[in-house]
Symmetry: C2
Subunit: 213 residues, 2 copies
């Protein structure tokens, strides 16, 4: 099913459904209607029904969907059944906090290991992991057929970190850097952009204030 | 200029331009062509030229733009000149890491203060700030005409945190919670979704692998 070409917007919605279904499963819910799924996910019920009709016959409309089955199907479409390991580059405050807060509830992602190039950090504990030397990262990447690397290095060091990951064969990167990174076409880089989200919030808040005046 | 209705996609691009221009200013660059801005931001030069032509007459095409003037103009359109203070709810690993890593390079955003409801955390140092009791948050929100709150509480506590922020009059929230939050229409909630970004990366990586087979 993963061969279906799905837009990024749809992927994001499916990811949200999966997250809501996992939370429902934790609460012990067995059946969920599309309306409940919509309410839980904060997505319109029309969009939910459309998505569920496009991506397969998961249940009977009206009587609801089996939470487990729907989750399995959605994870198959997403291709996130048995997800790849995640490594963190940079054992500063953000890198360590990510490791400590972990990835519970994300459907099987786990942080495999964390790396730094600062001798003062290598060997130190960060949550339940010991910070490893950046020199070991190529070996770890080569060992795994698939891996996602999170870049959480300090400002200006992102491109060097990416370069090293690319050379070792990593194809998927999530970056917390402020600066945009240059990657080859076959490597996908996505960004966590706190500052852009703040700009969007500020813009929206101030536009509303102007409109209210 | 902020009265112009701008799409979220455009806002995000403008936010990226602003970030690139700030980095250029730090490097001591005074003039930048639209091509350089495009390369620095990882955005197509056609899109950059279109945006700059829509949002005002900022420079002469060909001879480049004055970095300072263009940045000021973009910040005016974004409404991020003199941005609002940012507070953090939740002094766990993520909340503290955000505070410690700070908001340098974001065009004037700063973390004003950090709050928790756990007596064991209240009064502790987190970077250069002391964690304050959640009971003080209403007062701080009421004192500022505009404020952005970052929710970085542990799983399941997001909705309660949001409720308290809304009651105190906060209109803009950035949430790190896994679960979607219910907010009144006049309150904008945005999310930092590491797990969704991982899903998008995994989907894309596995679809490419399939296609290569």
């Amino acid at each position: 099913m993963i061969a279906i070409k799905v837009s990024e917007k749809s992927i994001r919605r499916l990811s949200h459904y999966a997250r809501c279904l996992r939370l429902a499963r934790i609460r012990g819910e067995v059946i969920m209607t599309s309306q409940q799924l919509a309410t839980n996910c904060g997505i319109s019920s029309a969009a939910v029904r459309r998505d569920l009709s496009i991506y397969g016959e998961f249940g009977k409309q009206g009587s609801g969907y089996k939470v487990d089955d729907l989750l399995i199907n959605i994870e198959e479409i997403l291709g996130t059944t048995d997800p790849p390991p995640v490594i963190i580059v940079g054992a500063g405050s953000i890198g360590c906090a990510l490791l400590i807060s972990g990835l519970a509830g994300t459907g099987g992602y786990t942080y495999d290991s964390i790396y730094d190039n600062d001798p003062a950090k290598i060997g130190k504990q960060c949550g339940n992991k010991q910070v490893r030397s950046i020199d070991e990262i190529s070996e770890v990447i080569r060992k795994h057929k698939e891996i996602i690397a999170v870049i959480a290095v300090s400002g200006g060091a992102g491109q060097d970190a990416l370069q090293m990951l690319v050379e070792a064969g990593c194809k998927a990167v999530l970056s917390f850097t402020l600066e945009p990174l240059n990657a080859p076409e076959d490597v996908e880089v996505r960004y966590i952009e706190v500052s852009t989200e703040l700009d969007v919030l500020t813009h929206s808040m101030r536009r509303k204030e102007r409109a209210d005046q």
